[in-house]
């Protein structure tokens, strides 16, 4: 029995903060104050306790990897929104409003991915804590399909715009 943090997963009785006291596992000093504040925000503490009480603790590397995957999806969502904004500002169509047909779907796709990425993170975290297999995400297919559709739409609109003028 080593002193590894991973060894603390042996059972719920060994969890340091099963009661969910926000300050109990924050370490010391100012570093924990930000997290303590976050946990006191509406629905924050309740939600975090609920997930922490599910299953048993994970190898920390899995938690970190799951969090990085969420952040990567979130950045992809932000990139799509930025692409939509760029399309709105820099695409020049003769027919007024055509750029909206490109820009708005990009932004909406970004918003959908942002929402779905959180849901995917939570599903994965729960599955790992319960030692269940991870589910495949539909997000890569939606992202690929969405980008292909918007690219085709852009090409068709560019041809229509050229033919109309």
């Amino acid at each position: 029995m080593g002193d590894s943090s991973f060894d603390t997963e042996a059972g719920p009785s060994q969890e340091p903060d099963a009661a969910g006291t926000p300050e109990a596992d924050l370490g010391d000093g100012s570093a924990g104050r930000g997290r303590a504040l976050l946990r006191r925000l509406p629905w924050g503490a309740w939600h975090e306790r609920r997930l922490e009480q599910t299953g048993s603790d994970l190898d920390p590397r899995f938690t970190f990897a799951n969090e990085r995957t969420f952040l990567a999806w979130n950045r992809t969502a932000l990139a799509l929104i930025a692409a939509g904004l760029a399309a709105a500002q820099f695409l020049k169509f003769n027919l007024h409003g055509l750029r909206l047909i490109i820009a708005v779907p990009l932004i909406v796709l970004g918003a959908v991915l942002a929402l779905a990425s959180y849901s995917h993170w939570e599903d994965s975290e729960r599955a790992m804590r319960l030692r269940q297999p991870l589910r495949y995400s539909w997000m890569p297919r939606v992202l690929s399909g969405g980008i292909i559709l918007i690219a085709l739409l852009g090409a068709i609109l560019a041809i229509i715009d050229r033919l109309a003028h």
């Binding site: 370490g27 969090e67 709105a88 942002a114």
Partner: protein
């Protein structure tokens, strides 16, 4: 004041091999991921502000720029804070549903403002 990196206490004493469950460099990669997210948010703020000024929505542009600069700063700070916390706790990784939810909400808000500005241009 600790000078040890995250997870330093979880390694086996006297060896250079990380212990079982040691996060190795995962906290560093995660802190960098939070930093990249913060930079992305800052970049989105610049784009939204520029688009808002183009659409003559100056007030929205200024408000968005300030708000997103703050969100970017908070996101970066959160990444650094949890990096330090996880180090102090000996590599124990806490999931961060609250921070992730706020980041998701901020991204959705950015999307809504982006649509408003896009339609107004």
């Amino acid at each position: 004041m600790s000078t040890r990196g995250p997870g330093a206490s979880t390694g086996d004493a006297g060896t250079h091999e990380p212990g079982r469950g040691h996060p190795t460099l995962a906290p560093d990669r995660t802190a960098l991921a939070w930093t990249r997210s913060a930079l992305n948010i800052a970049g989105s703020g610049v784009l939204i502000a520029r688009a808002a000024f183009t659409a003559d929505l100056d007030a929205l542009g200024v408000a968005s720029a300030i708000a997103l600069a703050l969100v970017a700063l908070l996101t970066w700070h959160h990444g650094q804070t949890i990096y330090r916390d996880r180090g102090l706790e000996g590599g124990l990784a806490h999931h961060e549903p609250v921070a992730l939810r706020w980041l998701t909400a901020a991204t959705l808000l950015i999307g809504v403002v982006a649509i408003v500005v896009t339609v107004a241009i």
